[in-house]
């Protein structure tokens, strides 16, 4: 965190100054470790074993926050009698369908109730329209004594019973004394008087079990009562200025703005079915139709009417996974004609970047928008496979357009930071030359396309013809008015165009327009709320008048949990939101995240519907039953509880189960994407992990051209321990060649004790640390780390595994710039070795473009 989010880290230092204990769990010793109270070097890819052991420690030492857990989580819910745990099936949960190659989650459900997940893969919950299934929460069965062997609490207790300090030593390479020191510090700092926070970044997400890493942290934090309370939480430290915004208003295939799902072809065939499949009969998602209708009114304006289902049939439908790597594999198979890349550099930043470039070579046309031509724009010359002669420029038929972009100082607009806070940046100067904003590009491209389709009467062209696209044009360069776009996102009433103050005002009758329901109110009172800048010194510590946080300017989500079941603060020290019995409403230092007049003693009757099903002690209002999920009865493709699986390419056999890897992981079986052995691959015996440096940003598009930063961090390097250096004859400052069967790179060697060697299962394990900022152009160059990585991903979110894989490292400059994506695997060998999967998991049906994933039936066209 000190390396990649330095200014965010100053608050960690402030907490330390006030007495907080800082624990840093990381394979490397970094600037964060240098100031932490405890540094825990951990083997890359073993975090669930570590976190699961914390769960076991908390439960077996009876250190959990009982009143919080019993009232605010699903600990007491009874689970189906058909449920079988990974303890019973050697690493698999019940429901694995060996023919379909995926889980059927029905045996994970609550007893007496089929509950709709608030997020994740809702389509798993399919077959019948769910509103008719009557998700009546009162039908849920509980054991509030938490003793029934099939209540969530007991299932968790048993699931993690083998995650002991000894197992941490074996799986993570962390001495048991060090683990126990961490566990003690964490538990001593939790309870009514104290809270602890977790911070993570892509070191957790980029694994084939990434979602479950974060789920394990959620279990720990819920058991300790650390969610919805000040100083608690799990904070994703995201790496881009508006990566949160681009998730909320998603340039992502599977969502519409505000986390509304993209229509799925086989289920959501009309609006009625789409709503039935996606609204919940209880909890806040019962409001779903209002958000969808308001979005369709924003997009299709007067054309959207009750009679035509608000133009629902203008929306395209997805059939399965259309995520980035799936798309690139299709591109490499020449099935995609055109590709827009805006402010991203996949030829460096994405997995197996030679395969990315093969995709680019097989396009008809490519549009890249950036400050200067990146490697993605210039893949057709000087790329490693071109320099080595494996590919010739004159054979590449892709037409390439490079458009120079405007900087943030040359345009108005808002970023949403990692805390959900929208902040407006004002235009300071005009963009130079032909540099333009993406707002300008999208708007003018849309205007041209509307003109090209103006005379068409084809049904397929109605959506573009009816699209509302009238924004005020400003100045000589005809920049669309960004504030007008923000006003549409924030919502207004259709009649008098009065801006809305919050999502509770949205209607399902076409009377309101709102481009993103969770942002509703960001243009409240006709004022740009994101541009508010009341100095921190002139307001409370929560600083509610700086920018605007979604939803409803709430700074801390689920903050009802900061009060006890009776509505009183858990302690004076941790006072945040509470029930004012005199006024009969919730109040506090933040906007309460609850129905403001719902008394703590309200209990819904059996006839309650929608948000009336939320009782006075249901802080987690987006969940169908208002409780936080320690255990996920639905919504995840790889099981209801996090389970330790090894990375696709590991150096160790899974010490806990016969099932080596996540059974539902996504693999691409293609000649451009060969894998190493599951473990014990003597050709690739070392662990590799990739990461960022303070002085550069992601794939380098915003830093490798900036001389000040290039001077600070001028050259690609890899980090190794003195032990690994001695083993492989590597010299500090000398050269090394790092390779996988997919690619080979050269880099300077930094021999440092910051890299740790682990002794596990009788072996000494070494890690090669590889920063991933560099590639062949810019003012500071070097080989790209992602020439080594593979297409392999978490099934829930299709995020790749780059934080743990296996490599070889040799001294000297030995690269011939070979790439599997250009001329086949680097080593011609039969890969025989230990299996990654139990026998029933081995045969997954092959999807398109080499994809083998445990989710074809559930998410693709059935």
């Amino acid at each position: 965190m000190a390396e990649c989010h330095p200014v965010g880290f100053r608050w960690v230092m402030e907490a330390k100054r006030r007495g907080a204990t800082i624990i840093h769990v990381d394979p490397r010793f970094t600037r964060t470790s240098a100031v932490a109270d405890i540094h825990v070097p951990i083997r890359p890819g073993s975090d669930i074993a570590f976190l699961g052991a914390l769960v076991n420690y908390i439960i077996s030492n009876d250190l959990w926050f009982k009143e919080y857990v019993v009232n605010y989580t699903n600990a007491a819910a009874l689970v189906s009698e058909d449920y079988k745990d990974t303890e019973d099936l050697d690493g698999l949960f019940s429901g694995w369908d060996h023919e379909k190659g995926q889980y059927d989650p029905s045996s994970w459900q609550y007893r007496g109730l089929d509950v709709t997940p608030a997020a994740g893969h809702r389509e798993m919950f399919s077959g019948e329209p769910r509103a008719e299934r009557g998700a009546i929460v009162s039908a849920e069965q509980h054991d509030y004594t938490l003793t029934d062997p099939l209540c969530v609490f007991q299932i968790i207790k048993r699931h993690y019973s083998r995650y002991t300090p000894e197992m941490v030593e074996e799986a993570c390479g962390v001495p048991r004394e060090l683990f126990e020191k961490v566990a003690r510090a964490l538990c001593e700092n939790s309870g009514p008087e104290r809270t602890g926070a977790f911070c993570y970044a892509v070191g957790w997400t980029q694994h084939s079990v990434g979602v479950q890493y974060i789920r394990t942290a959620a279990i720990v934090q819920l058991l300790l009562g650390n969610i919805g309370r000040p100083g608690g939480g799990i904070m994703a430290l995201r790496g881009h200025a508006s990566i949160q915004g681009s998730t909320d208003i998603p340039t992502l295939y599977n969502m519409l703005p505000g986390y509304l799902p993209m229509p799925k072809a086989s289920y959501d065939t009309d609006l009625q079915k789409y709503i039935e499949y996606n609204e919940s009969a209880s909890g806040w998602w019962s409001e779903f139709p209002k958000y969808m209708v308001s979005l369709l009114k924003a997009w299709y304006g007067p054309a959207a009417t009750l009679q035509n289902d608000w133009c629902y049939d203008y929306l395209p439908h997805i059939t399965g996974d259309h995520s980035h790597m799936v798309t690139v594999a299709a591109m490499a198979d020449a099935l995609i004609q055109g590709y827009f890349v805006m402010g991203e550099n996949p030829a460096v930043g994405s997995m197996n970047c030679a395969l990315q470039r093969k995709g680019l070579r097989n396009l008809k046309w490519l549009v890249v928008r950036d400050f200067a031509p990146t490697e993605t724009a210039e893949f057709w010359h000087n790329a490693p496979e071109v320099v080595s002669g494996q590919v010739r420029t004159e054979d590449i038929g892709t037409e390439v357009f490079f458009f120079p972009c405007a900087a943030h100082t040359e345009k108005d607009g808002s970023f949403t930071n990692t805390q959900r806070l929208l902040q407006w940046h004002h235009k300071a100067v005009e963009p130079p030359g032909d540099c333009r904003s993406e707002l300008h590009f999208a708007w003018h491209l849309g205007r041209r396309l509307k003109e090209l389709y103006r005379a068409s009467s084809a049904p397929k062209d109605r959506a573009i013809r009816d699209l509302t696209w009238d924004y005020r044009s400003i100045g000589a360069i005809e920049e669309p008015d960004a504030e007008e776009v923000l006003a549409e996102i924030g919502g207004y009433t259709l009649g008098d165009k009065k801006s809305l103050s919050g999502y509770k005002e949205l209607k399902n009758d076409g009377g309101t327009v709102c481009g993103c329901w969770i942002y509703c109110g960001c243009y409240k009172d006709g004022t740009n709320q994101a541009a508010r800048r009341k100095p921190a010194s002139e307001q409370s510590w929560v600083a509610p008048e700086w920018g605007w946080a979604w939803p409803a300017n709430r700074r801390l989500l689920y903050n009802r949990a900061s009060a006890d079941p009776q509505g009183r603060p858990w302690s004076e020290r941790k006072k945040y939101v509470w029930w004012d019995a005199g006024e009969k409403k919730w109040t506090g230092v933040d906007n309460p995240d609850f129905i403001v007049d719902r008394s703590p003693d309200y209990r819904p009757g059996p006839e309650a519907k929608g948000i009336d099903t939320l009782s006075g002690i249901d802080p987690f209002i987006m969940q169908a039953e208002g409780k936080a999920w320690l255990y996920d009865p639905n919504g995840l493709l790889d099981g209801p509880l996090p389970t330790h699986y090894e990375p696709e390419e590991s150096v160790l056999k899974n010490p806990l189960y016969g099932q080596q890897c996540n059974p539902a992981r996504m693999e691409w079986i293609r000649k451009e994407n060969p894998y190493h052995k599951a473990w014990g691959d003597t050709d690739y015996p070392f662990i590799a992990t990739t990461y960022r440096l303070t002085e550069h940003h992601t794939a380098g598009g915003m830093t490798r051209w900036v001389p000040w930063l290039c001077e600070l961090q001028p050259e690609m390097f890899v980090e190794v321990s003195p032990e690994l250096a001695a083993l492989r004859g590597l010299e500090n400052g000398g050269w090394a060649t790092v390779s996988t069967v997919r690619g080979e790179i050269e880099a300077r060697v930094l021999v440092t004790e910051r890299m740790h060697s682990f002794v596990q299962q009788g072996r000494t394990l070494h890690t090669v640390g590889i920063p991933y900022h560099w590639s062949w152009i810019g003012r500071s160059t070097g080989d790209a780390a992602n020439e080594l990585t593979a297409f392999v991903a978490d099934p829930n979110v299709s995020i790749e595994e780059s934080k743990a894989f296996s490599v070889q490292i040799v001294a000297g400059r030995r690269s011939r710039k070979r790439r599997a994506a250009a001329s086949g695997p680097l080593v011609d060998r039969e890969v025989e070795g230990p299996e990654r999967d139990q026998p029933e998991v081995r045969e997954k049906p092959a999807g398109k473009h080499g994809l083998h994933a445990g989710k074809t039936e559930l998410t693709e066209e059935a």
Partner: protein
């Protein structure tokens, strides 16, 4: 100037006469240092902004003179950053004003070996025509089982985490209306 005055400006004497024994106070001052001012006081305007790098969202002040950016500094009013910027944030000035920035649209013909400059309007027209052609050629109205698809898999998009919310909104709105579903960004990486 009196001889006496000259002698008192001699540093050692100055230190003794002013009681500035460490030599870091008044005795270190000259006329020049006394009149030094930060460059930014000459700015015509100061514009509120946000750092464009990571997700922390540090406040920035952009100082503008004669229509050009003269400096970018941290915003002391920000409850997030209280005036601080990291090495990348501190280099924002060079990111936005540096000589690396390309000012023209560049075009590489199929099988070409070099970039060519082309006018912005022409390039926009060319891209719009290619979108229409690719969309029309690859349109899928419905699945073979009869489910509606109403989309094209012939066009894809990547990027958004470095862009503004308003930009992501128009991109998603336009591409969805065109039936483009393969829209992705850095959040998946």
């Amino acid at each position: 100037m009196a001889k006496n005055g000259w002698a008192l400006r001699w540093p050692a004497l100055k230190q003794l006469s002013t009681g500035d024994l460490a030599g870091l106070g008044e005795s270190a001052m000259t006329e020049r240092t006394r009149t030094l001012r930060p460059r930014v006081v000459e700015a015509d305007k100061v514009v509120d902004s946000v750092c464009p790098f990571c997700g922390v969202g540090c406040g920035q002040k952009v100082y503008v003179k004669d229509g050009r950016i003269m400096d970018i500094e941290g915003d002391y009013d920000s409850p997030i950053s209280q005036g601080c910027l990291c090495p990348k944030g501190s280099a924002t000035m060079q990111l936005v004003t540096g000589t690396h920035r390309t000012m023209s649209v560049l075009y590489r013909r199929p099988y070409g070996r070099k970039w060519e400059k082309i006018p912005l309007d022409k390039a926009m027209d060319m891209v719009a025509e290619r979108v229409k052609k690719a969309r029309d050629e690859t349109w899928e109205e419905q699945h073979e089982k009869g489910h509606p698809l109403r989309r094209t898999l012939g066009i894809a998009h990547l990027g958004g985490a470095t862009l503004d919310n308003e930009e992501n909104y128009l991109i998603k709105k336009l591409f969805t209306a065109l039936g483009i579903v393969q829209v992705e960004n850095q959040a998946r990486i």
